[in-house]
Point group: C2
Chain length 335, copies 2
Amino acid sequence: MVDGAEAVYVGIDVGGTNTGAGVVNAEGRLLATVKKRTETSDGDALVRQLAEMVRELLTIRSAEAGFPSSPETGTLRAVGVGIPGFLDARRGVVRHAANLPLRDYPLADRLGDQLGAPVILDNDVRMYAYGEAAVGAAAGYDDALVVTVGTGLACAVVHRGRLLTGGDLAGEIGHVKVDGNEYACGCGMNGCLETLVSAGGIVRQAKELMRWKSSVLGEWFPERLQAGRSMTAKDVAKAADLGDAVAAQVFERTGRALGSTLAVCAALLGTDVIVIGGGVSRAGERLLSPVRRALVERIHPLHTERVKVTAARWTDEAGVIGSALAAKARGEHTA
Amino acid sequence: MVDGAEAVYVGIDVGGTNTGAGVVNAEGRLLATVKKRTETSDGDALVRQLAEMVRELLTIRSAEAGFPSSPETGTLRAVGVGIPGFLDARRGVVRHAANLPLRDYPLADRLGDQLGAPVILDNDVRMYAYGEAAVGAAAGYDDALVVTVGTGLACAVVHRGRLLTGGDLAGEIGHVKVDGNEYACGCGMNGCLETLVSAGGIVRQAKELMRWKSSVLGEWFPERLQAGRSMTAKDVAKAADLGDAVAAQVFERTGRALGSTLAVCAALLGTDVIVIGGGVSRAGERLLSPVRRALVERIHPLHTERVKVTAARWTDEAGVIGSALAAKARGEHTA
């Protein structure tokens, strides 16, 4: 069906805990994936692990395609790596990545040497956005804003299929102070949007509200019971589904806070679609509805008639596919 | 000094009241300008006026350069026109422009036919931003946000010397609702940022505050005196210079409201420089200082250490120069 010389691209989504990798064809179709616990002893060991994952993927793929192949057959054209942290993407250097043993580390060159293929780096949220724009919920729109809400909150802007490149700090909308919010943020500031709009932020708000209002969450997680597991954003979502007033109020505040910030972004960029991904996006309409309401209240109908707010198509896969396709695009751009 | 075949470019900044035009060389140096009251009877009459202005400019320039020239000598390479309103820039069509007799009018083609040179159109704020990025206060920065505060409030994003193209509605940050503000806006909404951050917004706030606090503005513009001229933003700036508390408070609120919105924009884009132009920017530090304070309060020091907030270099000229250079760039891009 496919021939041995078909060009393939590998995308790797490196996380502080797990790392996923996948091989895609030129159309962005995912042919095989692998996932491992991230090697965090040092940079070179991580690079060896990533190279091993790439080789494994190509073997899997070759076996599936029904003929022998290897990295040496020349089918691997480029590799893209998404990393959470501060990067010098142009030079392929990781300047600092939380929970990873990388500081001013030339990851692109080191991995490229191991694989004999060009390697590009970019921020994980940007790679995810690129994937959603290429083959996900943002595909076909001119101006997309892709937001990930999970442990943290960040976003990336895609214009006609191309990532908008700002400085290292572009997309950090999670660290803008919100009026009337004073929660301390991990970044050192107080009141950041991320202290509300994140998995931790949802739990934090629920715990605070439970002091004043009764909630099914109080039954599930009684304060004096130290033994049980900790409350998660998923629990708050479950409570919301049962009509719990505390949980409903938490999602309302969270979605509105996010929507108020996205209103400025959409007016600035003339956005056509806002795609919300990341773990917390599994809350679906509980989160998306108040985002839409905030947009309607804050920006002109000419905008809101046009801006679609939707959940991401992919969870982890968009990061892998986006990394692979970004590597492909970079190759075409510089060829 | 220059020879007859030197390439020149004309930029035209069409306003509801006056229209300015200028001729620049390939480096963006302004060689001559003309200004006229805008012809508003109909589209074709306006096009004839613009063509006449271009011919006049080329004659002025020829006379200055000390040799005879005309549009026919081939020195005119391209014309750029900045228009306030909704445009289809790609097709060169004005869809709707307030105070101008243009509706779905193919201005680029019509003017091009008259001049025998390529004509491009874009939104006036974008042309202005392009000028500030090329030869003004945003020159040399990777990621610039150029804001104009005058009758209205709008902005444009420049990344490495290129205008970021969103939809028709990109840059309309003046029409985002601000918490705690309920002034009716001309756009049909209530509480838009522009109802505070604009020439009219500054006067509106001053008049409201004067009801509660004594101000030198009350002496200058006594309520019962119907004969005198109306208060302007310039008067409020003058009062601020005299230490007037009302005027100071108005600029503080205006600058903070603007800064709070720009904080989101800067975090989103990783902005290096925020350039504030338009008539109200003549208030200088009275406006810029509270903008900077709002940024420091709202975004991370990593951002604020980097973002410079500065007044525009040019007033009207940036629109003219930007239009001319945008036409030049378009020609090179499509050549």
